[in-house]
């Protein structure tokens, strides 16, 4: 089963989506609408988002691309809900920068609280998986708590969704094709098998430091193949058997409107 949050017909709804793409609301109503309908507004799929952990340099080829040695310990940074937006929504490119890139990532959504979780038990704490696009503004990188919040904590720069797939519906999460298309052309093509620190490792690692809670998310990093984005570009991040996440880039002025 898949789970999402949408606005449809003026109502904010928690929905389940079955194997035949049929949509049922949390109060049992069947919605007669297709998943690709323009009448659906997709919200970020985690209803009460908690702490968002994101991984840097967690694919060896991407670490090399950025001229870094692959890390011996996970490089983890934290994000909050202000960065989240949904499928088919917009993200903005700040004015006067040279390099903003997408990062297509598999996300593990935590479903159960735990601390000091052992690797062999780790998957019991994962409710399901989704896809995010963890945009970065490389111009803003500084060598203090890098990647710093100015790079990674901006409004709208973490699209996620469209849905969460239940963990038990994904046969081998460590062997999924991951692709990104910009304006219809494939620019990133990797596999989750190339992750340096896998989900059980990360659950064990983080839970040795702190309690993980339902609604926390772990965005597991991105492989080689990042390119610059411009307003007007459409980027689609896809992970096989999970979902495809589409985002349109707009200017800072278009995004903030009268607050610009």
């Amino acid at each position: 089963m898949r789970h999402a949050r949408i606005i449809f017909d003026g109502r904010e709804l928690d929905i389940d989506i079955d194997a035949n793409d049929r949509i049922t609301t949390s109060d049992g109503q069947r919605l007669g609408v297709d998943l690709d309908s323009e009448e659906i507004t997709w919200l970020p799929p985690v209803k009460e988002p908690g702490t968002i952990f994101a991984l840097g340099l967690n694919y060896a080829d991407h670490a090399t691309e950025l001229a870094f040695e692959p890390p011996k310990e996970p490089l983890v940074f934290i994000k909050h809900a202000n960065t989240l937006t949904g499928h088919k929504q917009v993200s903005y490119r700040p004015d006067n920068i040279d390099f903003q890139h997408y990062e297509c990532e598999l996300v593990a959504v935590i479903g159960k609280a735990g601390k000091n979780i052992k690797r062999e038990d780790a998957m019991d704490y994962v409710a399901g998986y989704t896809v995010c696009n963890d945009f970065a503004i490389r111009d803003y990188l500084e060598n203090y708590y890098r990647p710093n919040l100015r790079v990674k904590s901006r409004d709208s720069l973490l699209p996620m969704g469209p849905w969460i797939v239940d963990r038990e519906d994904v046969a081998d999460v460590n062997n999924l094709r991951l692709t990104t298309e910009v304006n219809g052309k494939i620019t990133q093509d990797g596999s989750t098998k190339d992750m340096i620190f896998d989900i059980p490792f990360l659950v064990e690692y983080l839970s040795k430091i702190m309690t993980l809670n339902p609604g926390d998310m772990i965005a597991t990093g991105t492989p080689h193949g990042v390119v610059d984005m411009q307003p007007g570009d459409t980027v689609v991040c896809t992970i096989e058997n999970i979902c495809s996440l589409e985002t349109r880039i707009v200017s800072e002025q278009e995004y903030y409107g009268d607050k610009y």
Partner: protein, 222 residues
Amino acid sequence: MTANTLVNSKLVCVALNDKSQLAALESTFNQDPYKKPPTQPVLYYKPRNTWSVDGAEVEWAKDFDGNNVPAMVVGASLGVVIGRETCRVGQDEALDYVGGYTIVADFSLPEESYFRPDIKGKCLDTSAPVGPEIVPADTIDNPDALTVTVYVNGEQKNEFPLRNMQRSVAELISKISWIMTLQPGEIIAVGFAGDRVPVAQGDRVEATIEGVGTLTNTLGGA
């Protein structure tokens, strides 16, 4: 996270905002891996598992083998509580968006490096008590004139006049609001004395700001 935390959704802390600390570390910050001193506020989050309250015990951290860590430290800061949605505000109007003030204590492992996000050091359960209460913004004339004092077991350990901050409260609110839209109840810990105070198991820590209150917590593990 305790059910009665004063924090709503986000606690942003500002590191390296003590002028004397920045001066002392200047040569370090001109070398690898930093290469040059910070040009922007140095920010980190205390996530929700860290949030706690006045009077609560702070857990003594464990290392990855499950043993007590050898050392912990504490810093204290004025906590600026956002009163209404704050998006891309100017420094001159920034204080209009403050709903109130409180005190934030940041218990952590000793700060050894500022290069990577310090998840292991900063994200410990119960390590961010906030309180004792939120005083209304209009009871504080000038937040940059306040002084934060830390006592351990009744003995004064440091005193940080906020006029020694590299960036003022208004400048920080403005700069952060250009990165992220802040919501009511979100809190910014605007600056800590550069010298964090070593603490031991069982210590009683008080952080005081005149007009804001005294935040009292005890270290566990004794």
